[in-house]
Amino acid sequence: MSAPDQWPLWEVFVRSRNGLSHKHFGSLHAPDADMALKNARDVYTRRSEGTSIWVVQSSNIVASAPDAKEVLFTPSDDKVYRHPTFYQIPDEVGHM
């Protein structure tokens, strides 16, 4: 086991209620996955915030580069037709 300052960083995702998706809550250090889950329970769910926890080692997350923002995201700015707002939802469908 390595020293605490060499422990990997983990990202913590918590599902607050059944039916909701897991949401990023924060990060923490832990020597391995089991301890990361336990630490996440103690650090992020002690005020009964959760019903389920995911942890993933931060180094396993592939992130988009900040300077790729324009290339990735601005092309969709002027394509309003991609929003599904151009047709009527029948009343029987109810809330979508």
Partner: protein, 254 residues
């Protein structure tokens, strides 16, 4: 004020509450001093769980003792001899390995004790045990995980947890040495015959110790009588600190 009660159920509640309060206080001493932030929070959580459990036992004891007795009086106005906790739980924190060794050996006992009390014929007591079992199961997992990581970790962590286990081991015999309070509780079906918990406890402990590449300490047990109010020198200092505020300011309000 004299708090000695001769009612077995009240005595038993005080014994159980004292274990939880004294160990909870010990763990609270780690607050702000944990080896890492995450573990600091975990230790404070354990402390809060145990202090919360102590409150439930004391509230029930206070209700049964009657005459206006309160949980705070039971926590802050009883002297060292009135405390009926195991001598193990009052032992100083030492380093993180010492604290985890103490916690691991107690958690395994505490689990078995609560499982037995869940079957108590005292319904109010059984309800407290049922609720406490969930958090105690977590405590036991948490401390066992650390025993494994320290035992099966680096040379230094292995050395530290080995010597911590050797230091605390002689205090575990008291768990299974029936005192008056245990005998009365068992006779009335309030709690277990503590001797019957020894084998299942050894089994729980042995499994984790083996997984941690450690060996079970082989050494004589101390003959301790904390459950009869005879404590080590550590308890007096602990109580002096824990009780100082209400004793200096008896009218203090939260």
């Amino acid at each position: 004020m004299k708090w000695d009660t001769c009612d077995p159920s009240e005595q038993y509640l005080l014994h159980l509450g004292d274990d939880a309060l004294v160990l909870g206080h010990r763990l609270s001493e780690w607050c702000g001093h944990g080896p890492i932030l995450e573990e600091d929070i975990a230790l404070s959580n354990l402390a809060l769980d145990l202090v919360g459990l102590a409150r439930q036992y004391y509230q029930l004891a206070a209700k049964r003792i009657g005459a206006g007795t309160t949980e705070d009086q039971l926590a802050y106005w009883r002297g060292e001899r009135d405390f009926k906790n195991h001598v193990l739980v009052e032992q100083p924190n030492g380093d993180f390995a010492d604290t985890m060794a103490r916690q691991f050996l107690f958690d395994a006992f505490h689990l078995l004790q609560l499982e037995a009390i869940e079957q108590s014929n005292d319904a109010e007591l059984a309800a407290i045990a049922r609720k406490a079992l969930k958090e105690t199961t977590y405590h036991a997992q948490h401390s066992a995980e650390w025993i494994v990581r320290m035992g099966d970790g680096t040379d230094e962590s292995h050395r530290r947890i080995s010597s911590a286990l050797l230091r605390i081991w002689p205090f575990t015999g008291e768990f299974f040495l029936p005192a008056e309070v245990d005998r009365l509780a068992a006779a009335r079906g309030l709690g277990p015959d503590v001797q019957s918990l020894r084998e299942p406890w050894l089994e729980l402990v042995r499994e984790v110790i083996a997984k941690a590449q450690l060996s079970l300490p082989v050494m004589p047990q101390k003959l301790l009588r904390g459950k009869s109010g005879i404590h080590s020198e550590s308890l007096g200092f602990l109580l002096a600190e824990m009780q100082s505020l209400p004793r200096a300011y008896p009218d203090a309000q939260w």
